[in-house]
């Protein structure tokens, strides 16, 4: 059995590249992501820098995972629609997107997800506020946070859109 360790850590959705950066730093230090859970990550001891890590939001699609496998990409796991992958550095650089348009589409997928969960929380919050339950405020707070996250993602998307006026 190879040595493993589990770390609990919270990242904010609009800073998912910070999360990715951290996972790559761990890999650089010889700890490669091997499974993910809600706010927790399990790492296995590997050679330092043996793997690169990437993550993306997309609906689960076995055809896509098979396609990635053909490219030497290993699927690590997912939380809801956040997928985590790794690829051996010896197999070459690891990017998921190579043009601005697909990065914009990725932001769209994140935005849609945040909007859907945010709306659900808003409706449940309102229903609970007028009903007998006193806990409606929790959902309303969640909805507010999710809408804030949506705004941040929208901002990142706008940056990309500005770029796409002149470039691909």
């Amino acid at each position: 059995m190879r040595e493993t360790k589990k770390i609990w850590k919270i990242f904010l959705v609009w800073n998912y590249d910070k999360e990715e950066e951290w996972l790559n730093e761990m890999a650089m230090n010889g700890w490669t992501l091997t499974s993910v859970g809600f706010c927790n990550y399990t790492f296995v001891k590997t050679e330092p820098g043996e793997y690169n890590i990437r993550m993306e939001m997309r609906p689960h699609d076995d055809g896509y995972l098979e396609f990635l496998r053909e490219n030497g990409v290993e699927y690590v796991g997912r939380i809801l629609q956040w997928h985590y992958y790794r690829k051996k550095t010896s197999l070459g650089p690891f990017e998921l997107y190579s043009d601005i348009e697909s990065r914009i589409q990725h932001m769209d997928r994140i935005g849609k997800m945040l909007f859907a969960i945010g709306m659900a929380n808003l409706l449940i919050g309102i229903a609970n506020s007028i009903g007998p339950s006193r806990l409606g405020w929790i959902n309303l707070l969640c909805a507010t946070l999710l809408m804030y996250a949506l705004g941040r993602i929208q901002g990142r998307k706008d940056e990309l859109k500005k770029e796409s006026i002149l470039h691909e």
Partner: protein, 109 residues
Amino acid sequence: MDNNYALTESTYYIMLALYNPAHGYGIMQQVEEMSGGRVRLAPGTLYGALTALTGKGWIVQLPMDEGSRKKEYKLTDKGREILMKEIERLRELVTNGDMIVGNTDIGGK
């Protein structure tokens, strides 16, 4: 509408690579080779483009060989027509560039 918009660089190269049947990884290799290593298609981008191109009917997925798990794709007649028009458009861009700025061919006259 299909005829008035320029193709993106990725789309153009993917369609060019599918002039003969190829699978995903084959497309990436061909495109990288054709562009002298400049254009490296990333899998997420390529998969999205293949899905969109199939939806438009510009490429088709070929029936899978038994025992093979790799999906192969090929340009359709409609796709070939779009590609020819695009080459024509690109030629116009280069011709005008050459005319105004001078011949930009490497080692040009």
